[in-house]
Point group: C2
Chain length 228, copies 2
Amino acid sequence: MQEFRTNNPKTHFCLFSELSREQIASLRLQEVDRVYKKGESLFEEGGYPKALYVVYKGIVKIHKYGTNGKEQITRLASAGDLIGYRSILNEEQYSASASAVEETCLFKIPSDAFITLIKENSDFALKVMKMLAEDLRNAEKQVIDMAQKSVREKVAEALILLSDKFGVNEHTAALNSILTRKEIGDIAGVTTESAIRTISDFNKEQIIEIEGKRILIKDVTKLQREIL
Amino acid sequence: MQEFRTNNPKTHFCLFSELSREQIASLRLQEVDRVYKKGESLFEEGGYPKALYVVYKGIVKIHKYGTNGKEQITRLASAGDLIGYRSILNEEQYSASASAVEETCLFKIPSDAFITLIKENSDFALKVMKMLAEDLRNAEKQVIDMAQKSVREKVAEALILLSDKFGVNEHTAALNSILTRKEIGDIAGVTTESAIRTISDFNKEQIIEIEGKRILIKDVTKLQREIL
DNA sequence: CGAGGAGTTGATTCCAATCAATTTCGGTGG
DNA sequence: CCACCGAAATTGATTGGAATCAACTCCTCG
C-alpha cells in the first residue's frame, strides 16, 4: 500500500496501513480508469455520492461557493487522503465540490464496502473517527482564523499550509505545488488582489521569493512569526 | 433515557436512543454531582480530557480564543448533546474551552467506557461518526460564513441558530435562551458593538423585538431572507 | 500570432473595528 | 426595600484595512 501513504511529512497517518490483505480486498478498491486533468471536477456540491475516493497521485481541492459566488477552499487532498467520506457517512448530498488542482489519479471505494468495513473492523472505524476528529479540529481552527485574522496573517497561514502539506523542493525551496494566486486567496479567504499584494509584500521582505508563479519559501520561521 | 433527547426540534438525533439496557450500563454513566453555574468553566483549552460529558440540563458554549484574545464560540450544546468527545477520540488536549451559559447539569462518561462501546457496537460507532460528520459540515459552513458574510448576515445567522437550537417561547416569541450581546457577537464572529448595532437595526426594521436583553423573533422568514 | 486567462498595480470606497463616553440593568449587602 | 456597584448594553465619532473597480502587462497555449 505504499501508494497510499500521505506525503505530508508531519502526519504519517495512513487509514489503510494496518488492514489485512482480506480486508483490503473487501474494500473492492478499483482504480478509476481515467486521469483527472487540471481543473476537472470530481463531483459537485449538491450531487449524490455513490462512492468515495482515495487520491494516489495529484492534488484535489474541496471547495464551496458562498452566496456571493466567491469560492472558498476548505481542504486540500493529496496522496493517501480520502475524499467524499463525510457525505457517505451522513448519507446526504455533497456539501462541497471537488476538483483537480493538478493531474490527479484516484481509487474508488464503493460506499457499501466502506460502511461494511467500518462495521466489521472497529480499529478501522476508530481510525476513521480520528480522521474526522482531526478534520473537525482543523475546520474549527479555520473558523477562528477567518473570523479574526488579518489578510496578512491569513495568507501567511495559507503558505504555511501549502508548505506543510506539499513540502518544498529541497533544492529550490519552491513549493512542490503550483496553485494560482486566486486559489491561494481562496484558501486564505481573501480576494485575489489581496493575496497578490500580500505575497508581493512577503517577497519584498525577503520572506519568500517569487519565481514566475512559483513561490520559494526562503524562511519558514519568518512566516511562522507572522501568524503568531 | 428521556433526559437525553435533544431539545432541538429539527434534529431528533439521539446518540443513545437505540442502546440496550446493558450497553447503557456499560457506559458507567455518572451524574456529575455538582451544578455548573452561569459562567463556570467545564474545561479549558489545553487541558487533558479524562471523560466526556452529556448535557442534560442547561446550555454549554464551546469556545476558543484567537491570538488577539477575542473569543469565538464554535458550538453550543444543550440537552442530549455530547461534549469533549473529539479530544477523547484523537487523544489530544482539548482544543477549545467549555463553559456554562446558564445553569447546567451533566452526566459523565469515562473515556475508556466510551471507546469500548464504540469498539463493541458498530451501530453506535456509526452514530458517533454521523455526529462527527454533521459537526464537520457545520464547521465548514461556518468557515465560509466567517470568510465571506457581512456583519448583518452573520448576526442574522447567529439569531437563526439560536432559534433553531433553543426554540422560541410560543407565547412570547422570545428566544428560549438568554445570551449576552457579547456572546451573540462571539457566535457571529463580530465585535460586541457591531452585534448590538445590528440587533438594534433588526429591531427598528421590525424583524425582531427587544425586550430588555431578551430578543423576540417576530419574523423568522425575514431573518432567513437576510442570509439569502 | 492572437486570445484569453493569470498576474499586477493603482485609486477609491466603505464596512466594520476601535476608541470613548454614557446609560441601563441586575444583584447584593446594609 | 433601596442604594450602590460592577457588568452589560448602547450610542457616537473616528480610523483603517481590505474589498471593489479599473486598467494594464505578461504569459501560455492553441
